[in-house]
Symmetry: C2
Subunit: 326 residues, 2 copies
């Protein structure tokens, strides 16, 4: 009955306006929420929909206790439904989104949501399948050094989720095989791979100083950072060509926490100016949960942001009556 | 970004096996559940998925009390989500179906369901939109005489839902404008329109005897009932050409409760034999909630059933890689 597909396609009518779709993938406590929070603060909450892939858990917490795998395993999630919903959002259509309540570990009433200009999808599995990846305009994988991620996870889970340090350590060990099997393979499918790490260099004055390495893969057209950076001698900002894990030569922007203010500001001004926006880069960038501003985070967010804003100018209001069946 | 649609389409891979989709629309207490129950008993529960459009209510009962409209109003339902889900099921894909609990008037945890061979969609609005209608292979509208429907509704709501007769009468009056505006217009979009009515003719021996008029619209290829019925002189079964409400000449099969057993059996045997099935018509047909067998219901169910089974033989296992985006 191909005629039924045609009838459905015809009955769809004109296409909706499609949002710009961003994926932020990464393991637990890799910095996804902090990154997304700043982006949404700049874009405006009314122009953004935040979708957490954790809402597509298959089991409530009490059921999960019986299982031999963790929430990192694809079988612990309705990833096929997440796939559907990402497609629908990408096509500008509403969804009835499940809601997993982390406080109670149970599902609450589903939410009806319509995609505004930007849809920001974060979680453990947004780049899991080819079909999910096809839904996004910009994809980011957060790949902090494992020591840093562990310390972030211990800090967060003991401070905000009431766990003991030993419990978190045990959970990290239990999850490691599934992190390796199901989370880290998403790294190779991102346009941007961001590695935060302790900044242990000679200019570091705080013990928790950070650096960021942003891998700028050629799947997106990046700003001409080489020209921007060549104009001045840089102390703490570098654009280097490195070999990616598979050997591909790739641009990598290295930012140190203690880059002199004028260096990061000059870089950010130049990226921002490249969008044709005649004002200062937003002050909301770079803020962490405790309200501190971290330069490596600010630059990372600005790089993502400029891709989102660029993609937004590329979307025609209507693409015409393509057959979507969704 | 039409390329994103193409990428999604390509990532879909091969199409799923598609189920036969039946819609049973009608007002409250028009006999939808009774009709569907017999069909599912014959087809087998494991081959059927029953979807009630009431699950797509927008409000819980406590919220609805505040509203100026009833659950019959499209605004009281996520009909766009129901539309999506019908499309997905029609394309052989799973859905995460909301669940409205009539006992508590609240939403419970959503259910992950995959379409088996037959999907039976019943409720107030399954034929509401062009897109919903495009999803079905067979569509039925139940249009009992209004007196009969009122008496069914009063009986059911007082016996099974704990309401007082006066409450039900008041609710019927309150719903009437929305029945007229949103439920009854679906009548013109059905392949089969079934009107149960009291059988007040001379052969009627019980006060609650029924007749059924089944309008056989030319949107489906019906069995050649004229030839079947012409072979014997009929007392209580007639095929007449009537004018539909819009004036279109249409076949109408009239069945009276007290058709002699041999008449309805001969008709049912002939319809059943037309499917090439070499056995008796199923005994599960015609049973009402109280376990009585009603001949007009049995014939109605058999007419629907033969269309479902016929459609099932028409579905190729795979339709190839059409772009569905769902």
């Amino acid at each position: 009955m191909p005629e039924k597909v045609v009838a459905m396609g015809r009955a769809q009518g004109r296409d909706r306006i499609r949002p710009v779709m961003l994926a932020v993938a990464g393991d637990s406590a890799s910095g996804k929420s902090t990154l997304c929070h700043g982006l949404m603060a700049v874009l405006g909450a009314d122009r953004c929909l935040s979708v957490c892939v954790d809402d597509y858990h298959r089991h409530e917490r009490s059921e999960r206790a019986e299982l031999s795998f963790t929430a990192l395993h694809p079988d612990g999630n309705y990833l096929d439904i997440a796939e559907q919903h990402l497609q629908l959002l990408a096509l500008g259509r509403p969804i009835l989104k499940p809601v997993y309540d982390h406080a109670t570990g149970t599902f609450s009433r589903a939410e009806y949501v319509e995609p505004p200009d930007f849809v920001i999808v974060h979680g453990l599995h947004p780049l899991h399948s080819k079909l999910m990846r096809a839904c996004f305009d910009v994809t980011v994988y957060l790949d902090p050094s494992e020591d840093l991620r562990r310390s972030w996870k211990i800090d967060r889970d003991t401070a905000m989720r009431g766990y003991q340090r030993e419990d978190v350590m045990a959970e990290l060990a239990r999850r490691e095989p599934e992190s390796e099997a199901f989370i880290r393979p998403q790294r190779r499918h991102a346009d941007l791979v961001v590695r935060f790490a302790p900044d242990a260099g000679p200019q570091s004055m705080e013990t928790d100083a950070l650096s960021a390495d942003i891998l700028l893969r050629p799947t997106l057209q990046h700003p001409a950072l080489d020209r921007i950076l060549a104009e001045h001698r840089q102390a703490a900002l570098q654009l280097r060509i490195i070999r990616d894990l598979d050997g591909t030569p790739t641009d990598c922007l290295h930012i140190r926490e203690h880059a002199p203010g004028e260096e990061t500001h000059r870089l950010m001004d130049a990226i921002w100016a490249g969008l044709g926006i005649d004002q200062e880069p937003p002050a909301e960038l770079g803020l962490t949960g405790d309200g501190h501003r971290r330069e490596p985070l600010a630059v990372t967010q600005l790089v993502v942001l400029q891709h989102l804003l660029h993609a937004n100018t590329q979307h025609p209001p209507h693409d015409g009556g393509v057959l979507t069946g969704a």
